[in-house]
Amino acid sequence: MERVSERAVLDVSGLPSVVFGPRNVVWLGTILFMLIEGAMMAMLYASYFYYRTRSTDWPPGVMPPALTYGVANGIVFLLSLAPAWWTRKKSRAGDISGARMGLVVLAIFGAVNIALRVYEFSALNCEWSANAYASTVWMLLGVHSAHLATDFIETVVLAVLAFTDRVDGTRFSDFDENSMYWYFVVGVAVVTDFVIYGATRLL
């Protein structure tokens, strides 16, 4: 097993230990997580449209969801891209105070999103047990809320962490990945909104 002898070596001691973006292994892990969750959501959208083909009226027997909170939340989601982008930029530069600010603002946005989300459920105009359509929109919103809650908690934890003296290079890259995951949450939110509020009315 020991092959230590006089031989050629490939010296890697000069390589960096803090990298961002696609070079980072955690970035890849985050992307893979996003693929899993994206696949799950895609399957849920597919189920929604499958149910659509099995019913003559849509939404069947219930009112379409009220738009107010959904649209409001959609706008807040889109606005929250700004602090996410800011956090990303500052983290990559190693700017701790910038990153702190970005994380705090992002966490506030997340809290607003969650608050609005609670109202969104009541605006669905149906109980989950009413019929398959109702169960599906509840599940769509529920699964996305789980993503939202997860990333909100992560953001809060990172924001708290950012105010300690434990922020090394890997933490900065975690701030970076967190923002990327937030982009994903926003993206899924937009598509989900389109399905729940748009497709329900248009189809």
Binding site: E127, S129, A130, N131
Partner: protein, 187 residues
């Protein structure tokens, strides 16, 4: 690795211990046990006292209330024997509702059993001789589940053929209030 086996067996044992409580809920006795027939014979046809008098409820525990399978059989029979014709799916109609905590003739298993078997004035027919005792006990268990009197992991979930707004498994628990008054008069 030395501890692997110990931990494996240990957690196996612990899981078993935790779950052993719920195990008889899955029992499926397909052949009628003699016990259920014995229970039947001890029940007296209650002599009715209209007018709010409390009858001592015979304290007989219904073994089927511990079995999810039996309760679901009771549910099936409840529909098949057309109990739904009068009681709807617990909401009541021609007959009184079964989802609330009001029991005209008592809400203990034995009360309900004799209500089914002997019938009640104003429309409830007697089913003795028609419904075998064990099936009647299954129906009793289901009827009690409608008002949340059974454990949640025994009570049935929603039906596959009608909108169950609130399946028995999600019904809030109620206490039977026994005989609450005179039988309702037919309008």
């Amino acid at each position: 690795m030395r501890y692997a086996h110990a931990i494996f067996l240990g957690s196996m044992f612990l899981t078993c211990l935790l779950l052993i409580l719920g195990c008889q809920r899955e029992e499926r006795n397909f052949r009628q046990s003699p016990a259920s027939a014995a229970v039947v014979n001890t029940i007296q046809v209650s002599d009715l006292h209209p007018g709010g008098q409390q009858v001592a409820s015979p304290t007989i525990s219904n073994q089927y209330e511990e079995s999810a399978y039996a309760v679901s059989q009771g549910k099936q029979l409840f529909e098949q024997f057309n109990c739904v014709g009068c009681h709807a799916n617990g909401g009541g109609g021609i007959g009184p509702p079964l989802m609330d905590n009001q029991w005209i003739y008592g809400g203990e298993p034995a009360n309900i059993f004799s209500t089914i078997m002997e019938g009640r004035p104003n429309g409830m027919p007697a089913w003795r001789g028609r419904i075998p005792a064990n099936q009647a006990w299954e129906i009793v268990a289901y009827v009690r589940s409608l008002s949340g009197l059974l454990a949640k992991d025994v009570a049935p979930g929603r039906s596959d053929h009608m909108s169950g707004k609130r399946p028995p498994a999600n019904t809030p628990r109620q206490t039977p209030t026994g005989i609450t008054g005179a039988p309702e008069q037919k309008q």
